[in-house]
């Protein structure tokens, strides 16, 4: 168990999340992809704290911040989805392309 292993896990999660964010049509699914990416950040942040600079709490705070970011971003995501659903009766990003060019 070392830093590299954790980072590989984080990289894998990040890449899978990115794939989801890029490929999913439904907004909620895109959000899941983003959430997976944040998940990777949690892993990486914790690992950095533990394996690089465990003496100071900065890494732990970083993980907390990441979690907070995840929470608020998800909350906003749901809010936006709700709005989109109400305003356009849509839940797909592809359906929101009136504005372009």
């Amino acid at each position: 168990m070392n830093l590299q292993m954790f980072l590989l896990l984080a990289a894998a999660l990040f890449a899978v999340g990115l794939f989801g964010a890029l490929s999913q049509q439904a907004v909620v699914m895109v959000m899941m992809g983003l959430e997976l990416m944040i998940n990777a950040m949690v892993v990486a942040g914790a690992a950095f704290w533990y394996f690089v600079a465990p003496a100071r709490p900065d890494g732990q705070v970083l993980v907390l911040v990441v979690l907070a970011a995840m929470t608020v971003e998800m909350a906003m995501g749901f809010a936006v989805t709700t709005l989109l659903f109400r305003a356009k009766d849509a839940d797909m990003t592809d359906m929101a392309k009136d504005l372009q060019g």
């Binding site: 964010a21 890029l22 049509q25 990003t93 592809d94 929101a96 392309k97 504005l99 372009q100």
Partner: protein, 641 residues
């Protein structure tokens, strides 16, 4: 005294300017004002000729404005003023439309001439010189309803200005060389610049004096009113060309080649234009050609050691030729024609005019004891001193002058044939009368033409030579004078007798095609080029680059067309050059700058469209682009590290 010098041209300049700008309201008083002014100017001229003032004021950077009346200028100033007074007097009775404009322009012209004559530095000279040209344009084109006359004025101005460019060059060279723009120091300039100055001066003088190859403008200028011809082409503008060389004789002498060139040009002009004059059927054209020929003698004198003779010839010619032009003008006004065939016997119909004309013509022929006989001989003597061939050519010119004078005289003094009225009124509606205003100046000028030979004969001649600052010039021997006088008399008589039968070939009537040649060699190519440039500029703006091809083709066709009727080979080669220029311009067009500008604009617009393409509105494509761009940034940083 310097104040008088200033007034000498300030008075006619100011009066003339206000008359010219004053419009029709001043028309009624204009002749009187003009006469008074001319009289005042004459008085001033005499005064400054006696007082010899000189003044220099600061003018432009590196060049002062200097005017002075020296021995050379004094008689010329007086002559110009006197002729001007007489011509204006004649005009009172001759010019009835646009009097204010006429009088104003004439006075402006006189002011310019007087300034030219008194100029002591190049800026002052150029000032008078160019205004003289411009006013000559306005005077020749005086009857502007006729497009041909306007064109004639334009030709006169442009041709003489072409020569004037030489003066600009000369001024530049003089300023560069150092000692300044003073006329009497031009001969001291260092070597390369002196030659440039001389070349420029020659060009300017030849242009104004209607020497070869510039002579053609004088032919066209005959479309101007007769008083204008009488002033411009006797005492003033044309004469100033010769006068400039008289004044700059030291410069010509210092360069060497310039003197030779001037001498031969003068002599050849005397011969060639003499032949042309004999071939004329139009009285004023004959006189015009003879003016150029006579100025040839003046220039010959200036280029050799006959400065005094040249000056005397200039003055004598001024009186004689003014007389002849005025007489021609009187007939033109009365009978409405200038054709000598039609004017046959006109000398008998208006006897005073005829008599004075006879005096002038005989004088022009160089028959003793009239003015141009002695003055010309003095020039011939100087030529002989230079080279025998020059002398022979010049003598031929002298003989020819007797020929054309005799031709005119012979035709005009013939008995009035019956029913000749049919030839009248070809140019304008004649008045059939000659009034006192017209006659009085004729008499005065005839007196001048008869008496001015004194300037070249001892003892007055010596004094005159001293006056002009060139004593010790070669004096003609008695035998020479007798020879030339006798030759002139014989030829004159022969010409008078043979007058109706003298040939009038087309090449002579057309002044050797000089005008056509100039038109084809200079004017048309320049106009064509101008149109091409203009069209090129336009079409580039309108981004119709392609349509230049037909334009070029059209130009080429036009050029080919006139190519066909050009007789000489020069024209052919010119056309080829023109075509090549057209092709060149067309090629240049492709690489043109504004074309590039418009193309850049179009390219930017296209880029703008492609810049909008990433903004698809599709979020997943935004994502993909953003991530790829960031990955590229990472790679950039890692790889270039």
């Amino acid at each position: 005294m310097t104040a008088m010098l200033w007034l000498l041209f300030a008075v006619p300049g100011a009066v003339g300017g206000s008359l010219a700008l004053g419009g029709r309201r001043t028309g009624r008083v204009a002749p009187a004002v003009a006469l008074v002014t001319a009289a005042v100017v004459s008085g001033l001229a005499v005064a400054v000729a006696v007082g010899r003032p000189a003044v220099t004021v600061a003018f432009v950077a590196g060049g002062t404005f200097g005017i002075a009346v020296d021995g050379l200028a004094a008689p010329v100033v007086v002559a110009v003023a006197a002729v001007a007074l007489l011509v204006l007097t004649f005009a009172v009775g001759d010019v009835h439309d646009g009097r204010a404009r006429f009088a104003g322009l004439m006075l402006l012209f006189v002011a310019a001439v007087l300034l030219t004559a008194t100029a002591a530095t190049l800026p002052a000279l150029l000032l008078g010189w160019e205004i003289m040209g411009a006013t000559s344009y306005a005077l020749i084109a005086f009857r502007w309803r006729d497009g041909e006359r306007v064109a004639a004025g334009t030709t006169a101005f442009l041709t003489t200005r072409l020569g004037d460019l030489g003066l600009y060059l000369a001024a530049g060279a003089a300023l560069t060389a150092g000692p300044g723009l003073s006329l009497d120091r031009l001969a001291e300039l260092s070597a390369p610049w002196r030659h440039v100055v001389a070349a420029g001066v020659l060009a300017a003088a030849f242009g104004k004096a209607a020497q070869l190859p510039f002579s053609f403008w004088l032919s066209k200028a005959m479309l101007g009113p007769s008083p204008v011809s009488a002033l411009l082409h006797s005492a003033a503008m044309v004469a100033m060309g010769g006068y400039l060389l008289l004044r700059l004789h030291p410069l010509l002498a210092a360069t060497g080649w310039a003197a030779t060139t001037a001498a031969w040009t003068g002599a050849l002009t005397a011969v060639v234009l003499g032949v042309v004059a004999i071939g004329q059927s139009d009285l004023k054209q004959l006189l015009a050609a003879s003016t150029a020929a006579q100025l040839g003698f003046v220039i010959l004198g200036a280029a050799t050691t006959g400065v005094a003779g040249g000056t005397a010839h200039l003055i004598g010619h001024a009186a004689t030729k003014a007389l002849l032009f005025l007489a021609a003008g009187a007939w033109l006004t009365a009978l409405g024609t200038r054709q000598m065939e039609a004017l046959r016997g006109a000398g008998r119909r208006y006897r005073l005019v005829g008599a004075t004309f006879a005096v002038g013509a005989v004088g022009l022929a160089g028959v003793p004891p009239l003015a141009l006989w002695a003055t010309k001989d003095e020039v011939l003597a100087a030529a002989r001193q230079q080279s025998l061939s020059l002398y022979i050519v010049a003598l031929l010119g002298a003989v020819l002058s007797a020929g054309y004078a005799g031709k005119a005289l012979g035709l005009l003094l013939r008995p009035l044939p019956a029913g000749r009225d049919s030839g009248y009124d070809t140019e304008e509606q004649g008045t059939r009368r000659v009034n006192r205003w017209q006659e009085a100046p004729l008499v005065a000028l005839a007196a001048g033409a008869a008496g001015l030979e004194l300037l070249a004969l001892p003892p007055v001649g010596d004094a005159f030579a001293r006056l002009t600052g060139t004593p010790g010039g070669p004096a003609p021997t008695t035998s020479e004078m007798v020879l030339s006088g006798a030759l002139a008399a014989v030829v004159l008589v022969a010409a008078v007798v043979l007058a109706p039968r003298l040939p009038e070939p087309a090449w002579a009537r057309g002044w050797l095609g000089l005008a056509t040649a100039a038109d084809r060699a200079v004017v048309r190519p320049v106009l064509g080029l101008a149109r091409m440039v203009a069209r090129f500029d336009d079409e580039v703006l309108d981004r119709v680059v392609t349509s230049l091809a037909p334009a070029g083709r059209r130009t080429a066709t036009a050029l080919a067309h006139f190519d066909d009727d050009v007789l000489d080979r020069a024209g052919t080669s010119l056309a080829r050059i023109g075509r090549r220029t057209a092709a060149g311009v067309a090629r240049f067009d492709d690489a043109d700058v504004d074309g590039i500008v418009t193309r850049v604009a179009a390219g930017v617009r296209r880029l703008g469209d492609s810049a909008r393409r990433p903004q698809t509105g599709q979020l997943h494509q935004y994502y993909a682009q953003a991530v790829v761009a960031l990955a590229a940034a990472v790679l950039l940083l890692i790889l270039t590290r």
